[in-house]
Symmetry: D2
Subunit: 434 residues, 4 copies
């Protein structure tokens, strides 16, 4: 049956190239043809040829065509309910290895083999990652495809195992096509073209990315690091292109100021934890002067949380005075009013510290960035007033930036106590704020 | 629970290095300690550090220690029968996606995640392949570990998907450590050291291998090809080191005279089909003079089959005369007796043709080499008398070698008709023999 | 004596690092010290260490310091006139091999060995190329250094022999630092940043450069090629970033529209001839659809020549009428006046054809671009009206661009007849213009 | 005229391929043709095509043909005596830059340009190195070619400047074709095939070679190093294949036990000094445990010198007693007679120490190995009895091996005092022997 799918898509793919309209898209008729053709047969013997044709056909599909294909994969090549039920029954009756293996086999939907075969095409892995990216775009409106997404995620998790990734340093000797992707994928502090990038790759900066052998030239995730003296408390100087690069050998602190995922199709497969820890190792080895490794991170959920707290009449977070004090926050330019800032600072710092350490969502820190770093074993080290005065920084984080400290000596302990109690490890400095 | 396993093995690993005896092996006590330690806990946060420790511990185990570990993985970290039964019941009752996913999750034994995590260690993939190689060695006497082997095979099949393999040409510019492995792994026509290898890599020979990015320097499978004029009918001239290499541009035929798997730990994961077809493509592109692609293959099951036929009083394969004629085959030196050879030739050729085309095992060709090539879509082209007069060749194949023809135009059709009817495609020349 | 130079510069170099002023430059005193130190001695045994120190010292010199050094190399380490005279006399008297070798040795100034030793430093070749670049800058005002420049040029010519260069394709996968140099070195049609470059590296463009192993990452010369249909007659469409790239397989003509030298320090050492011919070979092999290879080149000396002709009362080039017709050329915007253009076109085209084919300087074509391409064996194929309407194009070439045709079949013949007669090979089309 | 040479050889080359006899060699007639053709002309425009044809023709020449070519290069394309005399006269009269440059130009024979052009052919450098190798073979019987050899050596010295060489580590991951060359070129302690080589590349050994970018895969010189404890005093254990490799991190001494040149065509161009010193640097960096760097070297001239001393009735080196004691040295198996050895040891050790420190040839150490290492700044550290009991070792060095110590702190001082006084730096231990 699977061969049928592969072959029919491949055949259809070839047909479709003829049938495409002037706009390059496949007509509804052609998609229908694709579906009808699914039952024809052809030999497995052609090696990777069929896989190549299928990949080709996929790239010819427009948005509608892709949904049609996803539906086919979801319906016709999803799990075989009847067979699962039968083998499950036998397993319950017998409980031996054979019945277990039979159930195991029954439970795997044929589309998994579909993806494994498609992967054999030149560029097959890339096509599958792209396919999942497309799928995730339409998933909110096509909840019936969730099972298909689970399968894709399961397979890609296995293939993109940390053991298969390579860490590469990115610098000004890196090929332009890879650098261009960095400009495009940077998600935390937008890059303003090549000159901006060039400063971020100067000798007092470091950039590392994970790559997978099947996606050459495609970074999966990258982190940007500034080599500085003492904890950086503000992002503006780090991004300032006019700052002359310093001698990295003199730095004592590495600041991870941006970490960005590059592949939508790999959403939910976590690389960040491994990336940060391996980069700490690389930097320790290359620059023995480095004594401290910390992030400079936004607090993306703070303002939203604050609003909800202020709207919640039962919250005991704020005194009436403080409540009034916070009113000017709704103004656009509050941070430029020095006096106002002075008054707001102690209140907002305290609230931010409470938000970061106390606000929870399903037992874990409410803030996604906190969740990530504390979950990795880092410690909440310092909260910085007016660390990011960009519009985005003010709107989400009230201008605050946070340092999470990665101390190899305490990472395991922090992680363990977090796993047990959900507690957010934090410094005495943060404790005082609360 | 999985973390427990990882951590306890890792802890034990470190302990064990201290406790190893003078012979470097772990004592029974230490293995007991390993098993006891399995329930202690430690943080997940250390990234790949724990995986590295586990890999380290594994390499310190001796044969007994490995069996102890396999048993733990098999018993304690095998499938959770109770949970499977429960989730299977819920699935039968509800049949929705959630219950399906719950059953899917329940059915995957924790040891799969164990391997995925172990893979993160430096050299992790290599350790796992080695682990399976060790497991396969003891499996015949430890049938209870079959489930564990199924899991390993399942994971490795996914990771060693054709799409992740790279085809590399092997020649005299290849690093010596890789060439050394070829000498060691050659399974069809034993290599007699570096001079033998050197001739097999001369300009009228080709050698290609598949590699996986996670096993650098480790060929998975390799094929040796001779570039000749017309179908080669005998192996001796191909291996003759004194033959002067010819200009490859003049050759019209590529003879695949040896194909060898290199990794015991990947047994049952098939690469040969892909390898041959891709090599045909490479050669076609590089040497447009090549018009024919064929193997020169042994018939490893022929003599055994012949014996069983002769012992079977009901077999109608042979006339009484022929039966008598075959008697001298039991002599060691029959092939050196020219007159005898002349008499035997027509009988043995006919029988070999019948064996290859008619002898079946579970509906497929009885001979494993036939099964492989015909299953790939090749055609049985020619049977060669006295093609391999080595001891091995005489004992197994009565000195016969066979050409299977890979003709890109008929591969699909052959493969299809084989899939449908099990028929062994063969040339008119072979048909005449029958 | 040479060791003295090396050592004293090296010693001085180390001192100088201490003595440098706040602006990083060496004081006049320090340079004096450098000169004084030249006579101290130190061992040759340190291998490349001394060379490294000298290179270091050189990079610490400011403009004045460099001139001081050049003077030392020129005066103290120049040719030994007395010894030359003596050995010349002996050679005249005896004329045997020994006296010849003695004269040969005497004639080579010690500074040649100085450069050979300096070359051993890490980055030594780069330092020497840079040194010549500095020297050429000051040569017009320091004519006494001409002998030093001759030595440098002689050595660099030998080292940058074509046999040591590698041709590399430049595209969007090339490291950014190399691409940045292209933007910087482009000498014919200025590049306006990364977006401009990106279009010039699209799939219907090609770019190739020569590199030398001792200058990694440093292109020596590069050529930009457009793959088009028919002879391109105008540069504007080729540089238009909004033009969608076309399928290169469909092109029948390769247009070499820009060729730029990158290293001032290698001035006078010719690479262009080899570059164009090898690129023609590469393109022929990769894109069999290409049938024609031609340049699209400026006529940089045309307007200046025209002016001089018009100022020359004895020139019989122009009729009185024509002379009057050309008057508006002095206006800035003449090319925007359609009617005017129509009137000027036949006159200017004819004059340009005559300039290119007839104007000579020391027996060779007066126009440097013509001299280069015709000297390489190309043929003047076509003159294009309004091919380059940039300010520069109008000012120098009156907006004209020229196609020189590289036809492998006629290159040798053209070159030979040029060498014999100095004649500029040209097409019948150009002949008609004259 | 030069073009004539190039072209005529190229033309001849093509002709010659037709005219070669059945044995592949060129007949005397053909060589005559080659010489006659030298005066014909062809265009320079063909770029590297002519150079390629000349290289091709050269490879077709047999021994006689090569001598014929060398004679042409020597006679017709050697220095132009008349022009040299004239320009020398002008230079004597005027002494200005122009006359100097004219003389410089006159003195360079056209064959230098011949080699520069030939170098442009693919593999041109290789051809030229080979050409010099051929020339050196015939030079003893063709002393008239000495001038030609001087030119070749001059050019190759410039091209093979240390700054263009790359140091590469050789190990078991090195391509087989390079390793094969090591087996072939090893000049000090013959390699007995691949197993011998493999032990010399084990983890307690190091091997480094210089390469030139224009001779890829061709080592120029290589050195073999053993990582041991304390000074190695005997070669046998170092070459013993049955010795288990030790952990290199534990070694405190690096013993350079073999250094071999690979290219006969580069004879007289010295790489060894640079190689040893750079390898000392590499090892110091990689293995901080190493405290001592020394050779284990033969004394190739000792026995010959001893004989000449014994034959010299005026030598006061030996007392009458000692003279008698040395008599058994002429027996083949003297070293196996324990008692005899005991008696000879003090006499021979003392004589060897005197030979090494006192015997001179033209003011420098008579022993070539001593000359090389002491000239590099090393110190004679220790003389080892029965260090090499191979036939060769006994015949040349009376079984003695010597450690020369490379101490970075004293290298310069040693080198300087050697340059000034010719004194052989030696340890107090050696002093006692004398």
């Amino acid at each position: 049956m699977l061969n049928q799918l592969l072959n029919s898509i491949a055949d259809a793919g070839r047909d479709l190239w003829q049938r495409r309209g002037a706009d390059g898209a496949l007509s509804t008729d052609s998609i229908q043809a694709l579906c009808d053709d699914l039952l024809s047969t052809r030999g497995e013997a052609s090696g990777i040829a069929v896989a190549r044709d299928v990949a080709h056909a996929y790239h010819a599909l427009d948005a509608e065509g892709r949904i049609a294909l996803f539906s086919i994969l979801s319906d016709r090549f999803g799990p075989d309910t009847k067979r699962i039920a039968e083998t499950a029954q036998t397993f319950r009756d017998r409980g031996d290895l054979d019945s277990y293996l039979a159930l195991s086999k029954a439970i795997e939907p044929p589309r998994q083999e579909f993806f494994r075969r498609l992967n054999m095409a030149p560029g097959g892995t890339r096509t599958i990652v792209e396919m999942r990216s497309h799928l995730l775009q339409v998933l909110p409106e096509h909840k019936e495809l969730k099972g298909l997404d689970e399968d894709l995620k399961h397979i890609l998790s296995s293939w993109f195992n940390r053991g298969f990734l390579t860490l590469e340093r990115i610098d000004w000797h890196t090929p332009a096509d890879i650098l261009e992707r960095l400009i495009q994928y940077e998600a935390v502090h937008r890059m303003d073209g090549w000159d901006d990038l060039r400063r971020r790759l100067a000798r007092d900066r470091r950039c590392f990315a994970f790559f997978h052998p099947a996606l050459p030239g495609e970074p999966l995730i990258f982190v940007e690091v500034a080599l500085v003296h003492g904890l950086a408390t503000s992002i503006q100087p780090l991004l300032d292109r006019t700052e002359e690069p310093e001698d990295p050998a003199g730095a004592d602190t590495a600041i991870f100021y941006s970490i960005s995922n590059c592949q939508n199709g790999l959403a939910g497969i976590s690389f960040g934890n491994f990336l940060i820890k391996q980069v700490v190792h690389e930097l320790t080895r290359d620059l023995p002067g480095l004594k401290k490794f910390a992030t400079l991170s936004p607090v993306p959920g703070f303002c939203r949380w604050l609003e909800s707290q202020m709207a919640d009449s039962e919250s005991d977070l704020l005194s009436m005075d403080e409540f009034d004090q916070l009113a000017p926050l709704s103004q656009d330019d509050w941070h430029e009013d020095e006096k106002l800032g002075k008054a707001l600072r102690p209140v907002l710092m305290r609230l931010c510290a409470r938000y970061l350490t106390e606000a929870k969502s399903r037992g874990r820190p409410a803030d996604p960035v906190t969740r990530f770093h504390i979950g990795n074993g880092a410690q909440l080290e310092q909260i910085n007033w007016m660390g990011d005065t960009s519009r985005n920084g003010l709107t989400q984080s009230a201008g605050m930036l946070v340092n999470y400290l990665y101390d190899l000596k305490t990472i395991e302990r922090n992680h363990e106590s977090f796993a047990e109690t959900g507690a957010v490890a934090h410094s005495s400095q943060v404790r005082k704020l609360i």
